[in-house]
Symmetry: C2
Subunit: 553 residues, 2 copies
């Protein structure tokens, strides 16, 4: 079914539900499908290939209708994007509980998922798509910026990437953050993207500076801009496997190489080479098996080029799309020779409970976000990276849907900040409540052995007790809505993760929930890493007084 949508969440302080929690869930669901935010709202797709906010349009309508009627002591149950039940709970319980795309492990593969999707029994929830806290490209922007900065520190001992260049792939929903993030970090960034329209979109959004059609043009630009130490972003129309090979043939070795094409999904994501984009889309429809094989073969070649860049000295990393696993499946034995970005750059932050914390203004008024920006800069003045980020974000990030901000805050800071914001809602400084959430890619909410939990020092990469406990404790604490997903960015079979969102509506009840959930949520991150033996996490747990009955060391 195609449904021409033009969904836009209500703004302002008037309620259309029976409480702000329900209202927030309704607005954030709608916001996920706002054409400013969603990649393909007509298909209910928010981001990441097929990551959806609701199973189908009928489910969407019923979700909205049910939220409007939901009492403050009721909880709506959502199974893969469909509202299946409402049960009575209590005011300290979540208003919505969500499970998306979860399959018994023996059946947790794309084939079975698509079979179920075809029968309309399931949808793909990605991470924040099906859990209604996607905030557009900014969400990933801070994380991508941070990864580039950390990669720079590691490779060159400095966060200043001027005069350096980055090669990557993909300019879609999440990957579309790369050009701007690379530029923010000071680098020249060349993004290979097979779909011209995606580059054009990013240029229109101000996220990308140049569009080029040939390797020659691209190389000329890169040379000129790096020589001038001028930060800039370039979109090159082409297939990564081919372009990378051509660059290698010419002996051009970037300082940094990564990739964020939608390789997690070899059927509806990644585009094979040796054919035009249109031919590929056609093949996907007519012969999906051949499509899948060709896509995986292209990934194998793509990864081989990345390995060669690494050999030649480029700082090379996997950027969370699971491309190494598929390449390995296709015979590239040493695919995992380059690391994932988490063990390489992000895990030390996770050990302090830091991760992609974010908030959105239900008023719809950017002023509300600017006020929270000011508060963050005041409260965390000593954190220069954070202050810089907010300054840059204010200049460079375009609002998409409800105004929102992302900041990597850790254990101890999240709840302190949210409590202050809750006061600002209470005393009218802000025009309407604020919604606090985070990506499922967070410190204590995901098990994903090829990404967030790759190479854990105790070998516990695949233990998914942790994200499940995260969901349970956030439910117990009274988050506004809680979700458990399978798949996400790395695809079927490769991850389990949990999300939570919490509304600060200025009430005392909200403050109590903040004091529980925004402690236990990042707390589980510190605990998970301390239990695995990471020094930083053990220290954090001890210094902050987290109660871990069996903590040693």
């Amino acid at each position: 079914m195609v449904y021409k949508t033009n969904i836009r969440a209500p703004r302002g302080s008037e309620l259309s539900c029976k409480g702000w929690t329900q209202e927030a869930a309704m607005r954030m669901l709608m916001n996920n499908l706002d054409p400013e935010v969603a990649e393909n709202p007509d298909e209910l797709v928010v981001y990441g290939g097929i990551g959806k906010a609701a199973r189908d349009w009928e489910s969407y309508e019923k979700l909205i209708a049910t939220l409007k009627e939901l009492e403050n002591d009721e909880t709506m149950i959502v199974q893969s994007g469909k509202p299946v039940a409402v049960f009575r709970t209590h005011e300290n319980a979540p208003r919505v509980l969500i499970a998306n795309s979860n399959l018994v492990p023996g059946w947790a593969n794309w084939d079975h998922f698509y079979e179920l999707e075809e029968r309309n029994l399931m949808m793909y929830g990605q991470m924040t798509a099906g859990s209604w806290i996607y905030i557009g490209a900014q969400g990933i922007l801070q994380g991508t910026y941070l990864s580039f900065v950390e990669a720079g520190k590691k490779k060159f001992g400095t966060a200043d990437l001027r005069g350096k260049w980055i090669l990557t792939g993909g300019m879609g929903g999440m990957s579309g953050a790369q050009p701007l993030a690379g530029k923010m970090a000071g680098a020249v960034i060349l993004v290979v993207e097979v779909d011209r329209a995606r580059i054009e979109r990013k240029i229109n959004e101000g996220y990308c500076d140049y569009l080029v059609e040939t390797v020659d043009e691209a190389v000329q630009l890169v040379n000129k801009l790096t020589a001038a130490k001028e930060p800039a972003s370039i979109g090159l129309v082409g297939n990564c496997a081919d372009i990378n090979r051509e660059l290698l043939n010419r002996g051009l070795i970037p300082d940094f190489v990564t990739d964020q094409t939608s390789a997690h999904d070899p059927i509806n994501g990644y585009i094979p080479n040796g054919m035009t984009l249109e031919e590929a889309l056609q093949l996907r429809k007519t012969d999906v098996k051949t499509y899948e094989r060709r896509a995986k073969e292209t990934m194998a070649e793509h990864v081989r080029t990345m390995l060669e860049f690494q050999q030649a000295g480029a700082e090379t990393f996997d950027y969370g799309n699971n491309i190494r696993a598929y390449a390995k499946e296709m015979g590239v034995e040493n695919a995992f020779d380059f690391p994932g970005f988490v063990p390489a750059y992000i895990r030390p932050l996770f050990c302090e409970g830091k991760g992609p914390f974010r908030w959105a203004a239900l008023s719809g008024d950017p002023e509300d976000i600017y006020k929270t920006d000011a508060l963050a800069k005041e409260m965390f003045a000593e954190d220069t990276a954070l202050v810089n980020w907010i300054d840059m974000a204010q200049k460079m990030v375009k609002w998409q849907g409800l105004p929102a901000r992302i900041c990597w805050l850790g254990y101890g800071d999240r709840h302190r900040f949210a409590l202050r914001v809750n006061e600002m809602v209470a005393n009218g400084e802000l025009k309407a409540p604020i919604v606090f959430g985070r990506d499922h890619l967070d410190s204590g909410s995901v098990a994903s052995p090829n990404r967030e939990t790759e190479g854990m020092q105790d070998g516990s990469d695949a233990v998914s007790d942790w994200p499940l406990l995260n969901a349970l404790v956030n439910t117990a604490g009274g988050a506004s809505w809680v979700s458990i997903h399978h798949g996400g960015g790395v695809g079927m079979g490769y991850s389990q993760h949990a999300g939570q969102v919490l509304v600060a509506d200025g009430t005392k009840l909200a403050a109590e929930k903040i004091n529980r959930v925004l402690i236990s949520d990042p707390g589980m991150g510190v605990v998970r890493h301390a239990d695995a033996g990471y020094d930083i996490a053990v220290r954090t747990a001890k210094e902050k007084g987290i109660n871990m009955p069996m903590l040693k060391g």
Copy 2:
């Protein structure tokens, strides 16, 4: 580590914790390891091969110590049997949240599990072992009795199995209920068990009548007893694959054939043929790969015999140990020609939210259970099967650990009954609080495509959103402890399931929780089956007024 145990939960109305919920969790954990209850308490094994209550003895001690200190607004987090954290929640939240044996699907196999177990990062939780609500053989007795009765109704149109005979395998923790259950149903039941000591134990417990060593003796007894229409149980020492073959060779076809050896675990459960038990245990230690292969080969032969019995007219069913899957893996293409017991006999009950509901008396006094028995007989007087069950159970079930009762109550009845019991605790009729729980094998708490959700009519067998939502809604409602497990009775990769336990301590708060959790918990079962299109469930949802926003039909 071997730890000579003699654990026995405290009895009576004196608290050693700061509240009855914590006290209940502590007593039920201890009760799971009571030598009267547990299969192998020295190894912390409760039942089902390696199903444990705590990861190791240090974890056990810390679980107890933490429960003793836990406040009424705190929640202990248990990761695969180890207490990893305590967070502040609130009085309407669970006191304990548990996740056991959960693995990211791509790694959800026995090899990886054992690797993690060896590093002491994980334990196997089975269903009620790691979630502290195993009550010994009675738990399974009612279910097994019920299955035999329903099988009888299907095959012969009568629940009276006198003069019929049942052939099955296994007399361990759960399977040990078979001899008594078969006898209760009126049949002569022949149970093949490779371990003589297991049969002796069941004879000592009054669960089995005869032990025989040869097929000749067994056949003679069966013939005599069936002719006399005398209900009886016989344990025959031997390997199922061999004994079944010999019976086939002699042309002896039972009326019912099933099996409950621990086939879910080809390494630490099932015993291969062609060697003595001692040789098998030795081989397991010296050459685990060969052991595994030989075990699976034996399963294949075992299943072939079951298929031949079926061909010859026996009512044959899989009894939840996943033996068909391993046989199929070993080349028995038609292994799934005989059905699982759930689609065959149990699903119609699930559609009404019925399942293995149970309760235990924290007083330790059997009188408390007799009083609840009387209440159940009074409240459900029109349900003759239930009344009969209670009468038989009072006569035939020996107490193991804390006195307990199991009754398959459904949606609407569970909370009504528990509220009445809560009043009896309040007014002193009962000497101490009562703990209400259930198996993970319940109406709405499990996804297990080879067992509980085999052959769902909409094809949703493998969708594990459902058990996860069950855990979330029970957490939201304020169950005393909640658990999410992977594996369980069918082994790694084959199931995900959830448990909940709720304490009735006579308070108003307990009544409120009962009114939420004992509605939402069986409610999720009705919803799961109604969503799949089962008429009985759709009718139940409508008649009982369960709020299902998208229910059709």
